[in-house]
């Protein structure tokens, strides 16, 4: 495989865009990324488009209808919440394989106020609330309870994740929410699915992000220095309860092991991490899954403040999914955007100073995991 560089990134503020549509949002992000790279649409040799709820609607082609129909190959990708990051990996593969010099990944989603995912069902027979819950808040509530059961983690420790990420988001102008909340406010907020209260659940929303990846030769021409050190995708292997309580840990651990090996770095080398905090409970699980702390130490790690801005390994300085937002297909490319901005010293008020290596992690339930490690 050839070396691949991120030459440009673009992202629109996550939020609600009632008067716009998916190709329009995705097209805007694509143009921002091209401008950032200093490239034109005619330079692009492949487009990988990730959009979950319009997965069958040729989103990539419709984006090109917005920005320029050059006849290039387009792949449309769906992989649950890992949709955008899977699209990024497709673009990476297209360049790494030697087939293309310039490829673009776009992640885009328009959720509106669709509310919680997974309700209803086609059979006319309701299972939600009858056979437990298949809704994400409950699933990640249960995943957090597993950590509580095994390690004695407390609800307050999970809540601290929400406090941290909401505080981080106040420095990110592209974040859907930019409001600080106190620990008391988090704990006393409306309960969604124990132990996660409202502020411990990511919002729904609309958004788009794009990344341009190029070969080493092209990167030299453009003066692009952010290298993709590893791009890894895993699915869930068999594990004890995976079919009833999706196991988000095992596939993250296998992806992390492979990514660290490929990149030639370890968790101690990371200057920042954007990980999949769809719910506050999830973030603590992934501290251990990514090796940011020892087994069972995640609660202690959030207590120490080491994962906050200015700490040893800042996690989700963008505000994370909890506050920046989680327009499903956009998320995986948005965290590439975030890491690339820090590595180039362009993250503004939230800049992690001197960042050289950053990791972006995404989980799509069902399950898919991507880990991308970027470095300068």
């Amino acid at each position: 495989m050839r070396d691949v560089y991120v030459a440009g990134v673009g992202m629109i503020r996550f939020g609600r865009y009632r008067d716009r549509d998916v190709p329009d949002l995705g097209g805007e992000a694509l143009l921002l990324a091209l401008d950032d790279a200093g490239l034109a649409l005619r330079d692009v040799e492949l487009l990988a488009a990730g959009s979950l709820f319009q997965a069958n609607a040729m989103v990539g082609q419709r984006i090109l209808q917005q920005v320029g129909q050059t006849g290039i190959p387009v792949v449309n990708v769906a992989n649950a919440c890992a949709t955008g990051s899977t699209a990024f990996r497709e673009a990476w593969l297209a360049v790494a394989s030697g087939e293309h010099e310039v490829a673009v990944a776009v992640g885009v989603e328009q959720m509106g106020k669709m509310g919680l995912l997974g309700g209803g069902g086609g059979s006319g027979v309701r299972t939600e609330g009858v056979l437990g819950s298949g809704l994400m808040p409950a699933v990640f509530g249960q995943a957090g309870m597993e950590h509580m059961r095994r390690h004695g983690t407390t609800q307050a420790q999970f809540a601290k994740v929400a406090v941290k990420n909401h505080r981080h988001s106040t420095k990110n102008p592209l974040s859907q929410y930019q409001v600080e909340v106190s620990l008391d406010e988090v704990l006393n907020a409306r309960m969604v699915a124990y132990p996660n209260t409202l502020y411990m659940c990511c919002p729904t929303g609309d958004g788009a992000a794009a990344a341009v990846v190029v070969s080493a030769a092209k990167a030299r021409q453009l003066g692009a220095g952010v290298k993709v050190l590893a791009s890894v995708l895993t699915s869930d292997p068999w594990s004890e309860r995976d079919l009833t309580l999706p196991d988000v840990n095992t596939l993250t651990r296998s992806a992390a092991a492979r990514a660290y090996e490929r990149a030639g770095v370890g968790p101690e080398d990371l200057d920042l991490v954007e990980l999949h905090d769809c719910f506050a409970t999830a973030e603590l699980l992934h501290y251990e899954n990514l090796g940011l702390c020892a087994e069972g130490e995640a609660g202690r790690l959030i207590d120490t403040g080491e994962t906050a801005q200015g700490g040893r390994v800042p996690v989700n300085v963008s505000g994370g999914l909890l506050s920046k937002g989680h327009p499903l297909g956009a998320t995986g490319v948005a965290n590439i955007f975030e890491v690339a901005q820090h590595l180039r010293g362009r993250a503004g008020a939230r800049q992690v100073n001197g960042a050289k290596v950053g990791l972006a992690h995404v989980i799509g339930l069902g399950s898919a995991c991507t880990i991308n490690i970027l470095g300068v």
């Binding site: 309700g119 437990g132 808040p137 509530g141």
Partner: protein, 144 residues
């Protein structure tokens, strides 16, 4: 052709014998022993293409973890306890836990639970849809 409305299980692996207690049926891989709810073409753990043997799963198990759902899809009454129950045959079940307050103080990891069934709703054809639930094992039953 229309049949007289009857009753049907909410999932195929819930069995409702006419002359006995309802039970959950597992498919056990004869190569590695892994147990699944519902049919598999090959074993998810060892990839052997079977054969699978159907086993009758225990009606009692232990609470692995839970969440208490306070906000759900429209028309779903809240709160409810969404649980993962481990059965002794080595398979876990996603279910609702009933006959217990929706309160962490009333729930403990590893607590013994037992299966029960009830009509959850009618389907479009007017059949009673029978669901399974788990509930705490009653003290007198435990002592017996």
């Amino acid at each position: 052709m229309s049949e007289a409305p009857g009753r049907r299980p909410i999932v195929p692996f819930l069995r409702l014998p006419a002359d006995g207690e309802p039970y959950l049926a597992g498919q056990r891989c004869t190569a590695c022993g892994a147990v699944f709810l519902g049919r598999r073409l090959a074993c998810g753990r060892c990839t052997a293409r079977g054969p699978f043997e159907e086993i009758r799963l225990s009606r009692t198990g232990k609470l692995w973890v839970y969440s208490i759902v306070h906000q759900s899809s429209p028309d779903v009454p809240v709160p409810y306890v969404a649980a993962i129950v481990d059965l002794p045959e080595g398979v876990s079940v996603r279910c609702s836990l009933i006959d217990v307050p929706p309160d962490p103080a009333a729930l403990s990891f590893g607590m013994p639970v037992e299966m029960t069934t009830g009509v959850s709703q009618q389907d479009r054809e007017g059949n009673d849809v029978v669901a399974f639930y788990f509930r705490p094992v009653r003290r007198e039953a435990r002592d017996a």
